[in-house]
């Protein structure tokens, strides 16, 4: 992470882990865990989530970087809202399920990249003039996830193909964006849960 950004947001970092996905089909065990987690939230609990430590840290960070979490909910709030609207955590594919499981268990968002398309270390930095993400020019100063060669996606935006992992991807790089106030244990746990759910471990 750039020095200026590190000084501005001590504790802001990206964690990552590699994993393999040999079977794109949904894991029934993960599906059961998602169903159990779905029963954890009703309307009041979904709302009160914002007062818990990790979700509150993401909300604060959203505010501090100029995002309004009431208009653009944090990843965990978005996931819980999705669960309320759809009536449950519906299984999609192994990778999406693994990422959702990690998010619901830890409140730390994890995104998946095609391992062959990105080159760790992954950093968080401000976009420079003229930098592009999938042919779209980034506004200078916008906070982005980047590898050693290029920007990968805007912070808290879903990566797009060909960088994003697809349902049939076999080799993945999972990246967690950790904001100030979130412990390293929580981010490690999120990455471990996602990797285990995806690789079937």
């Amino acid at each position: 992470m750039s020095g200026e950004l590190a000084a501005e947001f001590p504790g802001l970092r990206a964690g990552w882990i590699s994993c393999q996905c040999s079977d794109p089909r949904c894991d029934p065990g993960v599906g059961e865990r998602l169903a159990l987690l779905a029963s954890r939230f009703n309307g009041r609990q979904a709302l009160e989530l914002r007062q818990q430590q990790v979700p509150a840290a993401y909300r604060s960070f959203f505010r501090q970087v100029g995002l309004d979490p009431e208009q653009q909910p944090t990843p965990i709030e978005q996931a819980v809202l999705g669960r309320l609207l759809s009536g449950g955590n519906l299984p999609q594919d192994r990778i999406s399920d693994g990422l959702l499981l990690a998010l619901l268990e830890t409140s730390v968002p994890v995104v998946a990249f095609e391992a062959g398309a990105v080159a760790p270390p992954i950093t968080i930095r401000g976009a420079e003039h003229g930098e592009l993400v999938t042919d779209a020019e980034l506004e200078p100063g916008a906070l982005i996830l980047a590898d050693g060669q290029r920007p990968l996606c805007q912070l808290f935006s879903a990566p797009e193909p060909p960088l994003a992992a697809a349902a049939e991807s076999e080799s993945l790089l999972l990246v967690a964006v950790v904001v100030p106030g979130v412990s390293e244990i929580a981010s490690d746990e999120a990455l471990t849960i996602a990797a285990a759910a995806i690789s079937g471990g």
């Binding site: 009041r44 009160e48 007062q51 505010r63 309004d68 401000g126 916008a142």
Partner: protein
């Protein structure tokens, strides 16, 4: 950058323009802490309002970036405004509920004076969807004889 001008009298204006690098980091840190604290207070107000929804002003956003000191100050001020608005809404709601509770007590004390009056549980700030209503005892006979009572309905209709 600060500019200091010293007028030394007739014909000689000496201008000092020392270049001062102002360290904003402490101010920025304080503002960020205030923003985090205000967001927590706002979250608490939103939770307290449940199941009602607080209408909060939209704060303009333009993607994640490091905010300038001015932007942080504006955001802090917007959040203070939102928090004030949320607290006023909660206070107004509490007043309405107090009035509804007082009316219910009057209904219970003297049903005949409050014929056909209805107060929903939600107006009292109580969960559920029952309704307190003043009804005649024994139907038409009670209405003719002035036998009135307060009844709490059994709750939500069954889903069809």
């Amino acid at each position: 950058m600060a500019a200091l001008l010293i007028d030394q009298g007739v014909g000689s204006n000496l201008a000092f323009q020392p270049r001062l690098e102002i360290d904003e980091s402490a101010a920025r840190r304080t503002l960020r802490a205030q923003i985090a604290q205000l967001d927590l207070l706002l979250s608490a107000a939103v939770c307290e309002a449940f199941p009602d929804r607080l209408e909060l002003p939209v704060i303009p956003a333009r993607g994640p970036r490091v905010q300038s000191l001015g932007d942080l100050e504006l955001l802090r001020d917007s959040l203070i405004g939102s928090l004030r608005q949320a607290r006023e809404a909660l206070a107004a709601r509490e007043l309405e509920r107090s009035a509804a509770r007082a009316l219910l007590e009057q209904m219970l004390a003297d049903p005949a004076k409050h014929r056909r009056l209805r107060i929903a549980q939600s107006e009292l700030g109580v969960g559920g969807c029952g309704v307190w209503s003043v009804m005649p005892r024994l139907g038409p006979m009670g209405r003719l004889l002035g036998w009135w009572r307060v009844k709490l309905s059994s709750g939500c209709p069954l889903a069809t």
